[in-house]
């Protein structure tokens, strides 16, 4: 409405007024302009340029000063009004806050994991430049070969792409000095390890080069948790001495409470303190590979450049030491970004879950938008009257947006509370996937995420409803009553929202159904042993007291002698490990064996993935069947001929249809062992992994006492304390590392897919409840709005069953449409789940059938309630209420 010949000053003033709230401007803007024009003209006439400048100055500063105040006052007014409206409709408010809160909560919790695990940089100095180095022998199928001391020295001296290389390996030692021998997880590291990570100690100092000299005083750094727990946070801990590996170790520092990679450790020592790593024979042996190696990229060096640089060194080493790096094995080395390495397992799962949570939020949004629309129908006359009385359309729109923003903020509060509440659960879940799990926390980003979710939700729900209402405003006054049938356009929008909810719920249900189905398949897998009534006690023999085979043999014998006579023990065995032991992960360096008479070169020899040392009762205790031949006997001792048992996979792969019993094999080409029997396959590494090629040796011929296995007649829990005591009595100065029933071990092996299925199931259930409640309430409203019409139809002779089917059809048509859309969506999207599924295809027909039936049944139930009410309408009452 610009006026011709308007001066620049007036136009400027009008522009200035734009910083005031819309309401203020629309009420006083014109008047202010008129007043200002007169004031300006009068001032120009009467005063000098100083006076004019003063007038402009006060005009501008006053308006700038009052603008925020006016905005706040409008907002406060809107908020007050919105709160009053929300209190008046408490049921609606609670429902909306709860539904949105659950949607936002699901997203916020999963996002807190995604944020901490996948998005945040590593909590170390220049975390994104850290790499883990992997030696590989690709042709032998080894992708993660540890490093020997010579490997490390050569790469350290020759590389040009890394600014630092540090080594690490984990050991467990028995620490003496407290009330009982304590087993400590020990990280053995280069002196520069903590500077490399940029870690500052909370007490004392970290390692210095002198600590790693040969013959230096052994020193220890304690982890924060160990210091707090074992030493009760003693501030005078520095200088304390621990007895370990028969030497005194001096405490020099305490680490801050940071996540520790690659493992959690209780204490750290330098490489020269580790009794294995310091042995001259170990250092000299290029093939003695035990350490992991980390590096930091020099500034500006990319991962690819580092790969090329290290690759050329690998080539040199191959030429210089052909015996240690045979070309045939496909020797190579790759640097991998540490961050990727720590999270790649969790990545697909977490994004999938975030996607599922996003679906829940979408459904919640659609539902709340519907609630708002339904309420609009009741508030329409109020809004219309307010419009008619002069409230600007913009004002009304903002009022509605304020209401939904308040709603969303409340919901964000619920969601954040939800995220805090579920943190423990999620941390333990993510702990199965990534060592970064302990970093999970609700930080500013997560709060921001919740608020952004809430704001988007507002925009989605609020503006949809508001825009819709605006469109209908004019028509509303013409209506004769509040119970008239709603206009077609609105019911179309609401129907679309219902259909969308059903479609998204269907997709989530399919996802959950597939996960659950996959979990059932996993649990149905025959593990190859009988886990019930068996438990394992992990034993750590203090190796300085049991340094050789003879003492280890004695230790194993003593364990069996002590435990066998305990009442309730059916059988007992000592072994190096047990099936589905979480500490016994696969991978590593496969051993190769040669069958007698096989003259192929070394590298073509078949690999064996697991060698287990066991006492004769192992198979009976764990429940592994003997297929052919014989089991071990007590007469298989160090003096008798070497014997082994193999599993079916090994027998089948090596000798096809021939009988394996009686065949002889060797690892070193010198000592041949005779296969005396074949035992059943065991899924050693969990139900998802096939049984490994496995071989068993008698404990007496190759001693390693790691675990005691006990089969009991009754509940194993009852016997655990007695066995534990017996273990400590049998070998003083050894430590009990862990106690676990094989049922627990088996259950833990599917913990990650189970939690995934549970979370997915939870989201799907949430979605189903929200969607079904949405259908029910929409239909109830539909019935309420058509009371009179239905009443007339009944009065004219319509049977209750007609009414029932009309209402049911109204709801179920939308549901069917939603299921159809959801079906298409599920077919397209579940392909993304393929990697997470075990022996279930993403288009598994039974899952689709069950989910469809479930959803239709739930929807039918939801529609049935309002339909029955409609059918029972008393026409007289219905007509009288008009």
């Amino acid at each position: 409405m610009s006026i011709p010949n308007e001066s620049f000053a007036d136009r400027f003033y009008r522009g200035l007024l734009r910083i005031l709230p819309f309401d203020f401007r629309s009420e006083f803007g014109d008047d202010m302009e008129a007043t200002f024009r007169q004031q300006r003209v009068a001032t120009a006439r009467r005063q000098d340029s100083m006076g004019i400048a003063r007038m402009w100055w006060t005009t501008i500063t006053d308006i700038v000063r009052m603008a925020p105040r006016e905005h706040v006052s409008v907002l406060a007014h809107d908020t007050q009004f919105a709160l009053r409206m929300m209190r008046k409709n408490l049921g609606y408010t609670l429902a909306a806050v709860l539904i949105l809160g659950l949607g936002i909560g699901a997203n916020t919790s999963i996002f807190s994991v995604v944020n901490s695990v996948l998005l945040r940089p590593l909590p170390y100095a220049h975390g994104n430049q850290l790499v883990i180095l992997r030696q590989q022998a690709t042709r032998a199928g080894v992708t993660d070969m540890p490093f020997s001391v010579s490997d490390i020295n050569d790469y350290r001296q020759r590389n040009r792409s890394l600014s630092a290389i540090v080594e690490y390996h984990a050991m467990t030692f028995t620490l003496l000095g407290g009330t009982e021998p304590h087993r400590v997880r020990t990280g053995v590291v280069s002196a520069g390890f903590f500077q490399f990570l940029g870690v500052q100690p909370v007490l004392g100092r970290t390692f210095e080069p002198d600590d790693e000299r040969a013959g230096a005083v052994p020193v220890l750094i304690l982890s924060y948790e160990f210091w707090k727990k074992q030493e009760r946070g003693d501030p005078n801990i520095i200088g304390k001495k621990y007895q370990m590996n028969d030497r005194a170790h001096l405490v020099i520092g305490v680490l801050p409470a940071i996540p520790q990679y690659p493992n959690e450790n209780d204490v750290y020592m330098t490489t020269t303190s580790c009794p294995f790593r310091m042995r001259p024979a170990f250092i000299a042996n290029r093939g003695a590979r035990m350490m992991r190696v980390f590096g930091r990229l020099k500034p500006g060096v990319t991962l690819d450049q580092a790969r090329a640089d290290l690759g050329s060194i690998a080539g040199q080493l191959e030429k210089e030491y052909p015996a240690s790096y045979t070309e045939k094995t496909g020797y190579g080395i790759v640097p991998l970004a540490l961050r990727e390495e720590l999270t790649h397992e969790a990545r697909p799962l977490l994004w999938t879950l975030l996607g599922a949570a996003a679906f829940v939020l979408l459904i919640a949004c659609a539902n709340v938008a519907n609630l708002i629309l339904a309420r609009m129908a009741r508030r329409e006359r109020e809004l219309t009257i307010r419009t008619a009385m002069g409230a600007g359309a913009g004002r009304l729109l903002r009022q509605l947006l304020t209401e939904s923003l308040l709603l969303a903020l409340l919901a964000a509060g619920v969601g954040i509370a939800f995220a805090y509440g579920s943190m423990g659960l999620l941390t333990s879940f993510a702990g199965q996937l990534t060592p970064r799990a302990r970093e999970i926390s609700v930080d500013g980003w997560v709060l921001g995420f919740a608020v952004v979710c809430a704001t988007l939700t507002t925009v989605l729900c609020g503006s949809l409803a508001a825009i819709h209402t605006r469109g209908n405003m004019a028509a509303s006054l013409k209506d004769e009553g509040s119970q008239s049938a709603p206009r077609a356009s609105r019911s179309l929008v609401r129907s679309a929202l219902i259909t969308a909810q059903v479609a998204f719920s269907y997709m989530l249900l399919i996802g959950a159904g597939l996960m659950v189905n996959s979990l059932i398949q996993l649990q149905r897998v025959n593990p190859g042993f009988v886990p019930q009534h068996v438990f394992a006690v992990g034993v750590d023999l203090n190796f300085t007291k049991y340094p050789d085979s003879q003492s280890q043999r004695m230790a194993a014998r003593r364990l069996i002698e002590r435990i066998q006579p305990l009442p309730g023990v059916l059988s007992v065995a000592v072994s190096s490990s047990f099936p589905m032991d979480a500490d016994n992960v696969g991978g590593g360096r496969p051993l190769r064996f040669r069958a007698f008479g096989d003259n192929r070169p070394d590298t073509e020899m078949p690999p064996v993935q697991s060698v287990r040392r066991v006492t004769p009762e192992y198979f009976r205790t764990v429940g592994i069947p003997l297929i052919t031949g014989r089991a071990f006997r007590d007469s298989d001792t160090e003096e008798s001929p070497l014997v082994v048992l193999v599993n079916q996979s090994m027998a089948r792969r090596t000798w096809k249809n021939e009988d394996a019993v009686g065949k002889r094999i060797t690892f070193d080409g010198e000592h041949f062992m005779e296969i005396v029997g074949v035992v059943g396959d065991v899924r050693e590494f969990g139900p998802r992994e096939d049984a490994p090629v496995q071989l068993y040796r008698p404990m007496m011929q190759d001693p390693f006492a790691g675990n005691v296995l006990v089969r009991t007649a009754a509940d194993p829990e009852l016997l655990i304390p007695a066995v534990r005591r017996a273990v400590l009595e049998a070998n003083p100065e050894s430590a009990v590392v862990k106690v676990k029933t094989l049922d627990e071990a088996r259950s833990e092996a599917v913990a990650s897919p189970r939690t995934t299925a549970q979370l997915f199931g939870l989201f799907a259930a949430l979605a189903l409840v929200i969607a079904v409640a949405g259908i029910g309430s929409m239909l109830a409203l539909w019935v309420r709005q058509r009371m009179r019409e239905i009443g007339i139809r009944i009065a004219l002779g319509a049977a209750p069953s007609d009414i029932l089917s009309t209402v049911l059809r109204q709801g179920m048509v939308l549901v069917a449409l939603g299921v159809a859309c959801g079906f298409g969506g599920a077919l397209a999207l579940t392909r993304l789940l393929k990697k997470l599924l075990f022996e279930v295809t993403p288009t598994d027909a039974p899952t689709y059938a069950v989910v469809s039936a479930l959803l239709l049944a739930a929807a039918l139930l939801a529609c049935w309630v309002p339909a029955r009410r409609a059918a029972r309408i008393d026409p007289q009452t219905a007509l009288r209420t008009e």
Binding site: F24, F28, D31, M32, T35, Q39, T58, E70
Partner: protein
């Protein structure tokens, strides 16, 4: 919506006094306040309309439908005191008079004898 318990500012009181003898439009109020205070109080448009909004919502003034015939600008709005507004102005004037009397009794205002 009543906020009439909020204290009057000097500027608000000035506006109420200005409207005591009949309806006026915005610029007339500005001009009169300035003239009657000998230029001591100079309201800007922003301040004035902030006050007008407050007084309107407190019910102390209303927009007057009666307009002088000679007025040509249709966009211009006129305001007049309500009965409430007049009451508030009177109460405020009495309060100030009492204050002034006390100040005089303490001989704070020797130089300014009442006429």
């Amino acid at each position: 919506m009543s906020e009439s318990h909020a204290p009057l500012t000097a500027a608000m009181f000035n506006v109420l006094i200005t409207l005591a003898d009949g309806e006026k439009h915005g610029y007339a109020i500005l001009k009169e306040v300035e003239e009657q205070t000998a230029g001591e109080v100079q309201l800007s448009t922003g301040t004035l309309y902030g006050i007008i909004k407050r007084l309107l919502s407190d019910g102390l003034i209303v927009e007057s439908r009666h307009r002088p015939v000679e007025d040509d600008d249709s966009r211009r709005r006129y305001y007049r005191l309500t009965e409430d507004g007049r009451q508030v102005a009177v109460v405020e004037a009495i309060r100030m008079e009492k204050l002034l009397a006390r100040a005089r009794s303490k001989r704070l205002l020797k130089a300014f004898k009442p006429a």
